[in-house]
Amino acid sequence: MDLILSALDILMRWDVALALLAGSIGGVLIGAIPGVGPAVAIAILLPATFSMDPIVGLTVLLGIYGSSMYGGAIPAILINTPGTAVNALTTYDGYPMTARGEPQRALSLAYSASFFGGVFSVVCLILFAPLLAKVAPLFGSREIFLAALLGLILVVVAHRGQALIAGALAAFGIFIQTIGLEPVKYSQRYTFDQDFLGSGINLIVVVLGLFALSQAFVLLMDEDEKVHITKLRGGMFQGMRELARHPRIASVSASFGVLMGMIPGVGEFTAQFMSYTYAQKTSKRPQDFGNGSSEGLIAAETANNAVPAAAMVPLLALGIPGEALTAMMLSVFYVHNVVPGPALFQNRMDFVVALYLALLILNVLVLLFLLVATKSLIQVVKIPNRFLGVCILTLSFVGVYSLRNSATDCVMAAAFGLLGYILKRLKLPAVPIILGMVLGGIMEVKLRAAMARVKQPFDFIDRPVAFILFLIIVIVLVAHAIRVLKDRKERKEAEWQTKTSSTNFGGLMLRRKGSFLKGRGKQVRARHSKLLRRLTDLF
């Protein structure tokens, strides 16, 4: 109780309240505009938050992260276009509801499910915080190294069918962070005697290039689409009542969200997929899924909104971000000299709980805002794509230039923007680059520290947590290898089925005739004619 009171004390400030309001409303707006997304907004706002207190800056960014998914459901339901990538599953059941004249019901249900997911995860994590505080100190250098390695491996293997190139891009991220002055031996690495590379390549420059500028380029090269929005009629509170009729699906989906959110590199998509599959398999009407099922909508929206709070766990407890958005937030901590990790959980537990409480308040604010303002808010969906591109390009300047007032940073951001654009065109992931940069830096420092006390290779995993992490890494790699072999076998089987000629009787006879006319046939005919000659010679 004392902990919660001291956490509330941290939040009782006008600037935190303002940050909460700005973050929540800004996040909903950003989420509601297809093509912007929280990553772009956080990347742009990141340098602006450096001048704020850590709690204020983080509240703004958390607000955007946590509330963008609420906003993302609006275009997903009304125009079948997800506002953020994680709202893609919402279109499956949300849009069919709109098509049959129930947009208000779908929106209200999505808001209620999102609210439940958000609140459920925050409450879970506040309750688990003391336990986490006990576990976190068990993580020393080698455990953090292994956890970072596990996070990186999970991010790579999560890209099914693209694991190799995702791994190569993660390695590229690790390489980028090695550029510049090496901090222990003070030697230059890959600077090519250029002064501007001496201090290394800034994470924010890369993030802004890969997320904000690349998205601006995509939108500027795109065509504008005509958007038709269905009019909303009726109350917004019916979703709460409907959600109350499906407590099992809501709570299981939220639990999936919490669990998946805590594992680095897994995130919303896996949580949603598992919740949706669970909901469909246990439903009395599985045939409705994909055709406007309220249970499907609840599963998708509850799971994705339970993730943001849970994703903060590896970041706060171990200093390891699980995905791009938390990786960006890590830089806010570093700027303010607040180092997330076991020490934060031991010494600044009130700060951690304050962040969770901020998320809780944020969910309430967002729900209230949406219940009142949805009808006006849906107009933002109409903003033309290319004009959005102009806006993002203009705002990206603020993000990059305000960092160090350096035109070189802007050139580098533009180069990464071009790379991000190419990756988007080829449907290749940019997230492994960011995580490679962040986790690569952590791995370098922690491995060096850990190896100082390791004499034999097995000493590295002689502590229980290190051994468990090592075992998980082995299991993940073996499971991935099995999946790759299974995919390969399936592909071979499919190739065999498509390559082999027709298996009907006519086709078989045709091939038999063909074979007789060629090599083997010639031999058989030669033998037959030889035997025939001998036979005729007898007479």
């Binding site: 099914r160 069918g161 693209q162 690495r189 090269m221 533009a414 080829l426």
Partner: protein, 176 residues
């Protein structure tokens, strides 16, 4: 007709081979420079060598990028690939717009350049009506007021502001 391997490939065909080739080529080129661009320090553990992590990263890029390239279902650069490369080149125009904006701000000041840049790029994108021009001007003004005026982000005042009279000059440098 696409083969089973092409059919199962995640993502479009166009540009994949060019990207993979360029990626591996750059990685090989960087690895070939490792002895001149990094140092090997005597009496230092292998994992603490300044060369260790660049080598791991570049090795990973070459190994995994090379395998990705080897497993690609295409072996020849097609016409679609070249079309895609031209598409990448077309983006350079917007990168140049961005760089022009970046270089103009320290000279002409954040507010004047933004007020000119946003409507000009909107015009270029085909928004020439009064409404969109008004919107772009409004957006430009709002951006400057919000970020420089209210959030005080670090964007220097334009060199041109030096010619303004006393009080106005410091106001412009600080807030616009």
């Amino acid at each position: 007709m696409p083969s089973e391997r092409e059919h199962r490939f995640v993502g479009p065909r166009r540009g994949q081979l060019v990207f993979a080739l360029a990626f591996v080529a750059i990685a090989v080129l960087l690895l070939s420079q490792i002895t001149s661009q990094t140092r090997w320090v005597e009496k230092t553990k292998f994992v603490a060598q300044p060369r260790f992590w660049p080598a791991v990263a570049l090795g990973g890029m070459i190994l995994m990028g090379g395998l990705h390239l080897y497993l690609l279902p295409w072996r020849r650069v097609s016409r679609q690939d070249m079309g895609e490369v031209r598409n990448w080149g077309r983006v350079l125009e917007y990168a140049l717009w961005f760089m022009g904006y970046v270089l103009a701000v320290p000279v002409l000041g954040y507010l004047p350049v933004t007020l000119a840049f946003v409507p000009a790029l909107s015009w270029r994108m085909g928004y020439r009506g009064r409404l969109m021009m008004g919107l772009s001007l409004g957006f430009a003004l709002l951006t400057v007021v919000l970020f420089k005026g209210l959030l005080s982000v670090k964007i220097p005042g334009g060199a041109i502001y030096e010619y303004l009279p006393g009080a106005l000059r410091s106001f412009f440098i600080l807030y616009l």
